[in-house]
C-alpha cells in the first residue's frame, strides 16, 4: 500500500490529545473569546474587524482540528467539511456581490 493510500483510507491516525491537552486547548479558546469580546469594550480602530475575522478563523480551525479530530483523522473528512465551507463562501459571496451591485445605481 502506498503512502497516499495509507493517508486516505485510515480512519484514525494514532495520537489523540489527552484530557489535559483538551483543557489546554479550551483555555486558549477562552482567551481568544475574551479577546474577541474586548473589541466591544475597547476601541481597536481599523484593525477591529480584521482582528475579529482572524480570531473567528483561528477558533473555527482549533475546534475542527482538535475537538473534531480533523488533525488526526483521514484527510477525506477535512476535504468534505472544507469543501462545503468553500462552496458556501463562494456561492454567498457572489450572491451578496450581485445584490450590492444591483442596488448601487439607485443608492
Amino acid at each position: 500500500m502506498s503512502a497516499t493510500e495509507t493517508e486516505d483510507t485510515g480512519t484514525d491516525h494514532g495520537h489523540h490529545p489527552t484530557a489535559r491537552e483538551y483543557v489546554q486547548i479550551a483555555i486558549v479558546l477562552a482567551i481568544l473569546t475574551a479577546l474577541e469580546v474586548s473589541t466591544y469594550f475597547f476601541d481597536f480602530g481599523r484593525i477591529a474587524i480584521p482582528l475579529l475575522i482572524i480570531l473567528m478563523a483561528i477558533k473555527f480551525v482549533m475546534v475542527a482540528g482538535f475537538f473534531m479530530h480533523l488533525r488526526f483523522d483521514t484527510k477525506i473528512y477535512s476535504r468534505l467539511l472544507y469543501t462545503g465551507l468553500i462552496f458556501a463562501l463562494v456561492l454567498y459571496s457572489i450572491t451578496l456581490a450581485i445584490f450590492v451591485f444591483e442596488r448601487a445605481p439607485s443608492a
Binding site: Y22, L29, A30, F60, V63, M68, L80, L85, L89, L96
Partner: protein, 196 residues
C-alpha cells in the same frame, strides 16, 4: 464481520462518512441565512437594529457553548478509554451547558420582542430570528441526541467498545459550536462595531 458491514469502499465507516458529508452540506444551509442577514442588517424599517444586542450577555452564553465542546470531547475521550460512568457525567454536563445556552437565547428573544423586535417587524428582524432560531433548533436536537446517548448507555445499549456513537454525536455538537463561533462574530460583534 460486523465492522466490515459498516465499511465503505474507501475503507471508512459509512456512518462517520455520512456525518461529515452532512456537516459539510450544513454550511450551505447556514450560509444562506448568514448571507440574508448581512444583506438586510441595516434594513430595520424604523424598528430596532443591531444596537438592541446585549453583547456582554451573548458573550457569556457563547462562552458556555464553547466550553460545552470541551465537556463533549472529554465524554468521547472517556468512552474511548472504556469509562462509561465518566462519559455519562461529561454527556450530562454538555447537555446542561446546551440547555443554559438555549435558555439564554429564549431570554434574549423575549427581551427583544418586548423592545419591539418581533419576527415580522423588518427584514433585519426576520433574518436575525430565522438564523439564530435555526441554530437554536440545532442545539435542541443536539441536547436530545446527548440525552438519548445517556439513556442508551444507562440501559446497556451503548457499550464500552461503541465509542463511535459518542464521537458521531460529538461531531454534530462541535459543528453546532463552530457555527455559533461564526454567528457570534458576524452577526453580533462586527455589526455592533460597524454601527458604534
Amino acid at each position: 464481520m460486523a465492522a466490515d458491514a459498516h465499511a465503505t469502499t474507501l475503507g471508512l465507516d459509512h456512518r462517520k462518512l455520512a456525518m461529515w458529508t452532512f456537516l459539510g452540506s450544513e454550511f450551505l444551509f447556514f450560509g444562506a441565512f448568514v448571507a440574508t442577514f448581512l444583506l438586510y442588517v441595516t434594513t430595520t424599517a424604523g424598528g430596532p437594529g443591531v444596537e438592541i444586542f446585549d453583547i456582554p450577555f451573548t458573550s457569556i452564553s457563547s462562552f458556555v457553548l464553547l466550553m460545552s465542546s470541551l465537556t463533549m470531547v472529554l465524554a468521547h475521550n472517556a468512552h474511548r478509554q472504556g469509562d462509561l460512568r465518566r462519559m455519562r457525567l461529561w454527556i450530562l454536563a454538555t447537555a446542561g451547558q446546551g440547555a443554559v445556552f438555549l435558555g439564554g437565547q429564549v431570554f434574549e428573544f423575549t427581551v427583544f420582542v418586548k423592545e419591539g423586535l418581533v419576527l415580522t417587524r423588518s427584514p433585519f428582524a426576520s433574518s436575525f430570528y430565522v438564523l439564530t432560531g435555526f441554530h437554536g433548533v440545532h442545539v435542541f436536537v443536539g441536547i436530545l441526541l446527548l440525552l438519548s446517548l445517556y439513556s442508551l448507555s444507562l440501559t446497556g445499549k451503548v457499550k464500552k467498545d461503541q465509542d463511535l456513537k459518542t464521537e458521531m454525536i460529538g461531531l454534530y455538537w462541535h459543528f453546532v459550536d463552530i457555527i455559533w463561533v461564526v454567528i457570534f462574530t458576524v452577526v453580533y460583534l462586527i455589526p455592533e462595531i460597524a454601527v458604534g
